[in-house]
């Protein structure tokens, strides 16, 4: 971990080393999930597994940025949301009349906006320094902004007026939903390129604050630009890559299969659907892990770690640090974008109101740090462990509060305490993060 001091406590706190330790921890986490399945229900266990797989991929993306290269980016939520947007844009059906109402106008407006920024950047680079440059750039920006609003606003109004109760947006392309996953990665990568170009030269904490802002802006766009993905009115019933439970229950072949094993058809159908998601997600995760491991152990990976551990000496060896940082920032963001698209596919809907930085940025960071920065398998372990805890802390807290308050008389305090159990999650995550940072700063699975 970049800059982490080598304290004696963290080498001492490792009873088992290497693969044995990894297997032991993996077995422990597996026990948690099997326990959930046995004592609660297998549908719940699979639900947690699926989100844990998605979270692990997000953690993998953050690990690429932080663990490989030491980039402190806290814009994860923005890339997750962009991935979600790609699902709407790629796979939802086109809104009838939406494109005709103002699609070309919106596209032209956006192109004018991009052209304005490009012209301003070029003018800033080409014109001689001084008052002329300042005025020129300002003039380009103001005129460009007016043209942009002039074309963009009427088009947006026309699209949003098109049957707002059901659509009011452009809709998507109606393509298979699996295609949205790589597209989500590309969308996030494109955004990361633009962000990286401006913010990556900055110092570490400035980058953190800049990315925090970017994530909020991306979310604000998703919430307010109704023509894009209906904003906070949400896009629901997105297509699924797997069959619907109802269809399975209607299929005679499935019913025969279920009864031959003695399963209840309704439970069986939901378990089968979830297992299909698990399979799809696991394939993506394993492919990404394989690629990341290969990259980490290639000369490129060694170079990245060299840059992370000592930027100055890496630069002296002729490595282009800023360029490498940009590259790794884009790669990590693309992985996060893919995970965001997968999550929206799993949910079957895009709800911009439900994205919060605590859940989609900082929780992922906790996964990476707890798992072990720089270690891909650590991110996966952290993803599974922390996601299980995030889901289970609430019922555990509820149970604990009920036990604590059994002796109390019914009243304001008792009700308040029981209601408050829902907020135990944040508290628990904070404590776990602080304990790991302090006593095992290299995480559960250290890098080497």
């Amino acid at each position: 971990m970049s800059g982490a001091p080598a304290t004696p406590s963290m080498t001492a706190a490792a009873p088992a080393q290497g693969p044995a330790r990894a297997l032991l921890l993996a077995a422990f986490v597996a026990m948690l999930f099997i326990g959930t399945g046995l004592f609660q229900s297998w549908t719940l266990a699979l639900l947690i597994v699926n989100m844990a797989l998605v979270s692990s991929i997000m953690a993998l993306g953050v690990n690429i940025q932080w663990g490989y290269a030491g980039l402190f980016s806290v814009g994860t939520m923005g890339f997750v949301a962009l991935g979600g947007l790609s699902v709407v844009l790629v796979s939802s059906a086109p809104a009838p009349g939406g494109w005709a109402a103002g699609g070309p106008g919106i596209l032209l407006g956006l192109m004018m906006g991009a052209a304005t920024i490009a012209a301003a950047v070029m003018a800033a680079a080409k014109l001689p320094k001084g008052r002329i440059r300042t005025l020129g750039v300002a003039a380009i920006l103001i005129v460009g902004f007016l043209i942009f609003r002039g074309i963009f606003d009427p088009a947006v109004q026309a699209v949003e007026a098109n049957n707002p109760a059901a659509h009011g947006n452009l809709g998507g392309l109606g393509l298979p939903v699996l295609l949205a996953w790589p597209v989500g990665g590309l969308l996030a990568a494109a955004a990361a390129w633009a962000i990286g170009k401006t913010a990556l030269g900055l110092r570490s904490d400035y980058l953190a604050i800049a990315t925090l802002g970017i994530a909020e802006i991306i979310l604000a766009v998703l919430k307010n630009e109704d023509w894009l993905a209906r904003g906070v009115k949400n896009v629901i019933s997105l297509p699924r890559p797997v069959p619907y439970e109802v269809d399975l229950q209607r299929s005679q072949a499935f019913l025969n299969w279920a009864s031959s094993w003695g399963f209840d058809p309704i439970t069986a159908s939901s378990i089968v659907v979830r297992l299909m998601y698990t399979g799809l997600f696991a394939i993506v995760l394993l492919a990404l892990i394989w690629l990341s491991q290969a990259a980490l152990h290639s000369p490129w990976g060694r170079m990245m770690r060299a840059i992370r551990d000592n930027e100055v000496s890496a630069e002296a060896m002729g490595k282009d640090v800023t360029r490498r940082h940009l590259q790794v920032f884009i790669l990590g963001s693309a992985v996060i974008g893919i995970a965001g698209a997968m999550m929206t596919t799993l949910d079957g809907q895009l709800t911009p109101g439900s994205y919060s930085p605590l859940r989609f940025t900082f929780l992922i960071w906790v996964m990476v740090i707890v798992g072990g920065s720089g270690n891909n398998w650590g991110s996966v372990l952290g993803g599974f462990l922390i996601w299980w805890l995030w889901v289970m802390v609430e019922p555990i807290g509820n149970w604990a509060m009920t036990v604590i308050t059994t002796g109390m008389a019914d009243g304001w305090l008792k009700g308040h305490l029981i209601n408050s159990a829902a907020h135990m999650r944040l508290l628990t995550m904070g404590i776990i993060l602080l304990l790991v940072l302090r006593f095992a700063p290299k995480g559960l699975l250290p890098e080497r």
């Binding site: 970049s2 800059g3 953190a208 605590l358 940072l437």
Partner: protein
């Protein structure tokens, strides 16, 4: 008369709200910049420190109200503020002992301290929700207005009204007092001077016999006072909600960086730059423009540069421009 009406509309909808918001941001940014310059890390828990400080003040205000204490026309929360500051200071000092002190001792990289502050942020956010829930709370009382729009119209005969809410007046006055006290403390007292010395050059300060533990303790106490005051004023003015306090982190850091991280004057200037830009970019200028232009040219649209939902974008764009053009901020800050 139309120019006067335009001016009044500008004062009413842009200047006064911007002034109050700027004062709140400035106090927040002062706390963040102080922690940065002396403890040398960006404290991501600062927004949640403001939130929990405000929670203490709200609880104390409710306590005072229930025993029948009030502050006349002013909000009762002002009476509760000093006690809220004490509680927040105790909390921050406890956090420092439990979390940050260890990393100072092992001389951890600043980014590790930032991560630790993420953990503290989670915990403070959790405690805030645990104590007071997630709903919006309004805890202002006393007179609602210093000057109502109706009185102003009656007194001046103008069509446009000018209203000044008590919370806006209180914000500006309290912020002035707080900033005055802070600068007196930093410039004139021995402890304040030792803090500045520590911020300028830690090694030299240690060499000249300054006790680092004392400097750190005082820094946390001052930061607690600033954060609680900023949070309380913001809550009085706009209502308390734990989510908005977390989101204030961005404009506050933007203000501190725009002014120059580590520079108290810069933090104040940055706070007002961010606040006024935010208000001016997101205000619908239709009213002001209609007064100024002849009827034939009256605008049809709202004449709004950006919808209010994009106010984050404003702080962000200013932040990026300042960082690209003058990386150390308006008033030369430091970079570690």
């Amino acid at each position: 008369m139309d120019i006067l009406n335009a001016l009044v509309a500008f004062l009413n909808f842009v200047f006064i709200p911007g002034l109050a918001y700027g004062a709140q941001l400035a106090l927040g940014a002062l706390g963040a910049t102080l922690i940065y310059s002396i403890l040398r890390f960006s404290n991501f828990a600062h927004g949640d420190t403001m939130a929990i400080g405000t929670v203490f003040v709200i609880l104390l205000t409710w306590g005072l109200q229930s025993v029948g204490v009030s502050f006349g026309p002013l909000p009762t929360a002002l009476l509760a503020l000093p006690f809220g500051i004490v509680l927040t200071a105790i909390l921050l000092l406890a956090t420092d002992r439990a979390v940050y002190r260890y990393y100072r001792r092992v001389k951890a990289a600043p980014v590790i301290l930032v991560m630790a502050s993420l953990g503290v942020m989670f915990i403070l956010n959790g405690i805030t929700r645990f104590i007071i829930g997630t709903s919006d709370i309004s805890f202002t009382d006393g007179e609602r207005f210093i000057l109502t729009a109706g009185d102003f119209r009656a007194a001046t005969g103008l069509a446009e009204g000018l209203a000044i809410r008590t919370t806006q007046g209180v914000t500006v006055v309290v912020a002035l007092i707080a900033v005055g006290l802070l600068f007196w403390f930093l410039q004139k007292t021995r402890t304040g001077k030792s803090m500045r010395a520590f911020s300028d050059n830690e090694d030299l300060a240690l060499l000249s016999g300054i006790n680092p533990d004392r400097v750190v303790t005082v820094t946390w106490i001052v930061a607690a006072a600033l954060a609680t005051t900023a949070g309380t004023l913001y809550g009085l003015d706009k209502g308390f909600s734990p989510f908005t306090y977390f989101q204030l982190l961005l404009p506050i850091f933007a203000a501190a960086i725009v002014g120059g991280l580590g520079s108290p004057i810069g933090a104040i200037a940055g706070g007002f730059v961010i606040a006024f830009s935010e208000v001016m970019v997101t205000y619908a200028w239709k009213k002001v423009v209609t007064y100024l232009l002849p009827d034939s040219l009256a605008p049809e649209g709202l004449v709004q540069l950006m919808s209010t939902d994009y106010k984050f974008a404003v702080s962000f764009v200013i932040l990026i421009i300042v960082l690209l053009v003058m990386p150390t901020g308006l008033f030369k800050g430091k970079s570690i």
